[in-house]
Amino acid sequence: MSDTTQTGPVLAADGTPLKRSLARALRMQKIRALMLIAPLLLFVLLTFILPIADMLFRSVENSIVPDNLPRTVVALQDWDANSGEIPDEAVFTALAADLKIAAEAKIHTRIGSRLNYEKPGISSLFRKAGRRVKKWDIEADGPFTEQFIKIGKGWGDPEVWRTIKTYSGTYTNGYFLNAADMQKGPDGAEWRPENEQIYFTLFKRTMFMSLVITVSCIVLAYPVAWILANLPARTANLLMILVLLPFWTSLLVRTSAWKVMLQQQGVINEVLVWLGLVADDSRLQLINNQTGTIIAMTHILLPFMILPMYSVMQTINPTYLRAAKSLGATNWTAFWWVYIPQSVPGIGAGSILVFILSIGYYITPELVGGTKGVFISNRIAFHISTSLNWGLAAALGTILLAVVLLLYWAYDKIVGIDNVKLG
């Protein structure tokens, strides 16, 4: 019997299509493999993917306003925000009803803080109003317009009402606009005033400094990796310990050590003054600015550059250089045209590692960066732990994530991700 004349799917010996037969044979293996990685998969899902998804969601989520001020939101729909007048009595009545419920649930202050991010001052309006509203009888005590304005003058400001109307949807792009130095004006999105724009500067600074750190890491790491790769294995392993040594010291300790080194009364300045290279009254400002952040982070991230470079260089056979020289290339030509191109995968891998690590770095800039040397991550941390504006923090984080993915994509287009070798 011959299969060659047969048309249609190839059949196994028992007559079932070969593909299905094969799939059945492999299914057990696949299930077993899946079981083996299931714990890790679950762990990653619970501790990494879900929190990130939650964070991404928070950057657009705004349900606190429509959920707790449902009547007000409905009543405000008929009000023209650009009229320059406050809404009519119906809205105030709705607000009183909503606030009474909210205040009894002790949730009115949270609505206030949410809206306070968009317009400072609203928080206290809600707090004060919540206290009073509890004593009101919504049916009998009206009209409320005057009473609200008596509690807080802000209730008579159309801007406050515009803010409430603007942020009455379940989802909002307000956090993202904020993160991009914009705000919702009467005519949609608009730039914030010049003196309030901070995030764009911070993003730019984060990018620029990460780039500087990456380049200085390349410059410093390349010769080290080259020496390591060309030494006998024993010596190379010994020196490798020196490279890895920083990993065994706490990040905080290392950063604090840099503080000691770099401050104006620190080791470096003292030595320079002692050598007469720097005048005593014009000591170098090496810390609490960008210089400090760049120096400390270059040091901390250097091993991440050396290791991939070293592992790639180890695989480059030294005969290539000899071959180039025998063909008439000088040491420099041979190095530039034959060695460097072959070490590019190491440079690429190291650069991606260092750049992505530094773009999200937090502790070191916080400690040695002062005000001029902090990164966007420090701002995110501020919103997470101090201002408690998690939505804005989430929006900033999302933008950062998008930027990293964009850069990764650009790298893939320009250099090719298959050109990256970590070992």
């Binding site: 020289k325 063909l327 008439g328 045209w337």
Partner: protein, 366 residues
């Protein structure tokens, strides 16, 4: 020194020594002189110093002592890239990030040749090794034999007068290796280039070279054309290293008329050609090639000394018969005979008498 004697020499090593650690000499007192156009092979076991010699010639190692001259001028202080010596490496060392054409173009580019000249020379070199259509490929897309050809073309594309090859065929399978051996020799002779070839494969050395330098222990043990090397080894090492060889140990009884009478350790006497023995009473190692041993009495010389032998094993190899004998206490005595109608096939257990011409039996150092 007068130029007269050395003018024909293209490559010269004079009293060259090399040490890596300052304690042991890897190359001990190397003297070598080769004329233009010669194909010379450095043959030896690993660690014999042959590759070190090649690397010194290429400029990747510096001689600890002595002079290396190329075309009459000392090149001791000339860096490798200025020596203009082509080199083929053991693992080919084709640059993986360049195409084949770019690989070949590299030596021309560093010599600042124009684009059209480069393209023309590259194409000519590729055609020369019959790889004309492969210019756009990457080295990893070629087979071992093809990479070998490209490495050869790259070493030749800038028209060097001297080409060094460091075990270039080591990574190829047997059939391809034999094919490439002929191709390289033909190419070298056609282009008239001088070649120094390093290998540990004696067949390669014998088939390819004009002369072979056998290295051992940092010295050239013998420098001779392949036939001389095989038939007239100068010492036991060369005799053992080149081809198959039978050895018998004994003591020189007397030397007369260019023939040494050697008493083997079991008391029997044989006639030998004294090569590096001079005194009666000296210990010697007698060496006879398996194919020069005769057991047909009719073909032996009148009055020649013969030895008793017992056949231990008969191996039929097609073109030849290989017979293992016990001779003078040596169980590994091999004889080879052509498979011809008139040749007797020996049977294990058979007692025979063997003999040889005195000049085929060489009394060497013990």
């Amino acid at each position: 020194m007068a130029d007269g004697a050395n003018s024909a020499a293209f490559v010269e090593f004079e009293r060259v020594q090399k040490s890596y650690d300052g304690e042991n000499l890897v190359v001990k007192d190397l003297n070598l002189s080769m004329p233009k156009g010669e194909f010379l092979t450095m043959l030896g076991p690993s660690g014999s110093g042959k590759t070190t010699c090649l690397m010194m010639l290429a400029g990747f190692e510096t001689a600890t002592h002595g002079d290396i001259r190329l075309g009459g001028t000392s090149i001791n202080n000339i860096p490798p890239h200025k020596r203009g010596i082509g080199m083929v490496f053991q693992n080919y060392a084709l640059f993986p990030h360049m195409t084949i054409a770019e690989n070949l173009s590299f030596p021309l580019e560093v010599r600042k040749m124009g684009k059209s000249t480069r393209e023309e020379k590259v194409q000519r070199a590729l055609d020369m090794v019959e790889m004309g259509a492969f210019g756009g490929r990457r080295p990893s897309q070629l087979s071992g034999g093809q990479q070998q050809r490209i490495a050869l073309a790259r070493a030749l594309v800038f028209e060097p007068e001297l080409v060094l090859m460091d075990e270039p065929l080591g990574a190829l399978d047997k059939q391809l290796r034999e094919k490439m051996q002929f191709e390289i020799t033909h190419l070298a002779h056609r282009l008239g280039i001088t070649v120094v070839y390093v290998t540990h494969d004696q067949t390669e050395a014998l088939t390819m070279s004009d002369r072979v330098a056998v290295f051992d222990d940092g010295r050239i043990q013998q420098l001779a054309p392949p036939d001389k090397l095989y038939e007239e080894p100068q010492n036991s090492f060369v005799a053992q290293f080149i081809g198959e060889n039978n050895t018998l140990e004994g003591t020189v009884k007397e030397i007369k008329d260019g023939i040494a009478l050697v008493q083997l350790d079991d008391g029997e006497l044989i006639d030998c050609k004294p090569v590096n023995v001079s005194q009666p009473g000296e210990r010697t190692r007698v060496s006879i090639r398996p194919e020069r041993v005769e057991y047909n009495k009719g073909r032996l010389q009148e009055g020649a000394h013969t030895l008793k032998a017992e056949v231990l094993e008969f191996i039929y190899m097609g073109d030849i018969f290989r017979t293992r004998l016990r001779v003078a206490g040596n169980d590994e005595f091999i004889i080879k005979t052509r498979n011809a109608p008139d040749v007797e096939r020996l049977v294990p257990g058979q007692q025979i008498e063997i003999g040889w011409l005195p000049e085929d039996c060489r009394a060497l150092d013990a």
